[in-house]
């Protein structure tokens, strides 16, 4: 009986001894995340860019906007898109509601060129192009965004009629994906 108990004790001891070798294991955990493509929001002042007087003493259109005119505006100090994008720039001409019956001498429309510079990307469009222009941004971009207006023009050297003129430049930045 004592012998049987001893054997049983030894067997139990042996089984307790080998148990840790059977508990080894491994697990691999994948760490994943995403970065969604996006652009920062573009918020601009509602105050219009005042281009000043459009005519000189002879009533003809000025060759360049007046010295005190606001022909440049920084729209954002650091605008960014973290993926390729397109910028659509549209410029509507400067017009006045004041009509003229002498259309062979006068016009109520003044065109101009709008140029956008966004860091190392730039492009321009004339207000004569109704559909605007698309500027490709082939990679993520970040930097200051500036709008410049230049080259006032009228058809056939007509004189602009007197009045208040207004126009608009519209920018739409969309991710290319």
């Amino acid at each position: 009986m004592r012998t049987r108990l001893l054997r049983a004790s030894l067997l139990l001891g042996a089984s307790l001894y080998v148990a840790p070798a059977l508990a080894q294991d491994s697990e691999t955990m994948v760490v994943q995340s995403q970065v969604a493509p996006f652009c920062s929001e573009l918020t601009v002042s509602s105050a219009p860019m005042n281009l000043g007087s459009l005519t000189g003493p002879n009533g003809q259109l000025v060759q360049s906007f007046a010295g005190g005119a606001e022909t440049e505006r920084e729209l954002a100090t650091s605008f960014y898109c973290n993926a390729p994008a397109t910028v659509t720039i549209k410029a509507t001409p400067l017009t006045t509601p004041n009509a003229t019956t002498d259309s062979s001498s006068f016009t109520s429309r003044v065109d101009y060129t709008a140029t956008l510079v966004w860091d190392d990307i730039n492009g321009n469009v004339s207000s004569t192009v109704a559909g605007g222009a698309v500027i490709a941004v082939p990679e993520a971009n970040i930097g200051p965004m500036k709008l410049t207006l230049s080259n006032p023009a009228v058809l056939n050297n007509l004189r602009p009629v007197a009045g208040d003129y207004s126009g608009q430049v519209t920018l739409t930045i969309a991710l290319a994906q």
């Binding site: 005519t55 400067l94 009629v161």
Partner: protein, 190 residues
């Protein structure tokens, strides 16, 4: 346990997504304003003096050739324009003897001569016939206008002598001397 870890990782990633200041697209409209002030312009006339030469015929009366509607002289202003509603004025003084005469004007003599000064090339033909100094004719025009080529033309015709009272009277003898009158064209933006 593995699923729980993945859930935690995904939650962390969601927290890192952009906030309200980021978007799939951005747009903005920049308003522009400018002004064209009302103005008018008149170029330099091709003649600043319209010489009607000798006013009299052999009988000392006003030359009959100068009485009618034939144009005696013309001045042209090539560049005349107003870019807004405006007024057109003609200010004119009758031709007047330029020397001082040391006696009263006899009843049968004339020292002043009137004329038609007709302005052509504007939406309305304007005519002034001065009997005095600085007679004025003004008309308002409610739209911009520019004179087409050859431009604004001032035509002088229909001379007639004036009596001392300033009334037109035919058959008066003109006293000798130089006669001078004026016509001033004024375009003013309203």
């Amino acid at each position: 346990m593995l699923h729980r870890l993945k859930s935690v990782m995904a939650a962390v990633a969601l927290l890192a997504l952009p906030g309200a200041a980021q978007a799939q697209s951005a747009s903005a409209g920049i308003d522009l304003s400018s002004t064209v002030y009302g103005a008018c312009g008149l170029g330099t006339p091709d003649a600043s003096v319209l010489d009607l030469h000798d006013l009299t015929g052999p009988d000392g009366l006003l030359d009959p050739a100068k009485l009618g509607s034939a144009v005696l002289a013309t001045a042209t202003i090539a560049d005349a324009w107003c870019n807004s509603p405006h007024s057109l004025s003609l200010q004119s003084t009758a031709m007047t003897l330029q020397r001082t005469v040391p006696y009263a004007q006899p009843a049968y003599m004339a020292r002043r001569v009137t004329f038609d000064a007709k302005l052509i090339g504007w939406p309305f033909t304007a005519t002034i016939r001065p009997h005095n100094d600085n007679d004025l004719f003004t008309i308002d025009i409610n739209s911009p206008y520019a004179a087409p080529a050859p431009g604004l033309r001032l035509q002088i015709s229909k001379l007639q002598t004036l009596n001392p009272g300033g009334a037109e009277q035919a058959g008066l003898m003109l006293e000798s001397g130089n006669y001078l009158g004026t016509v001033t064209i004024i375009l003013a933006a309203n």
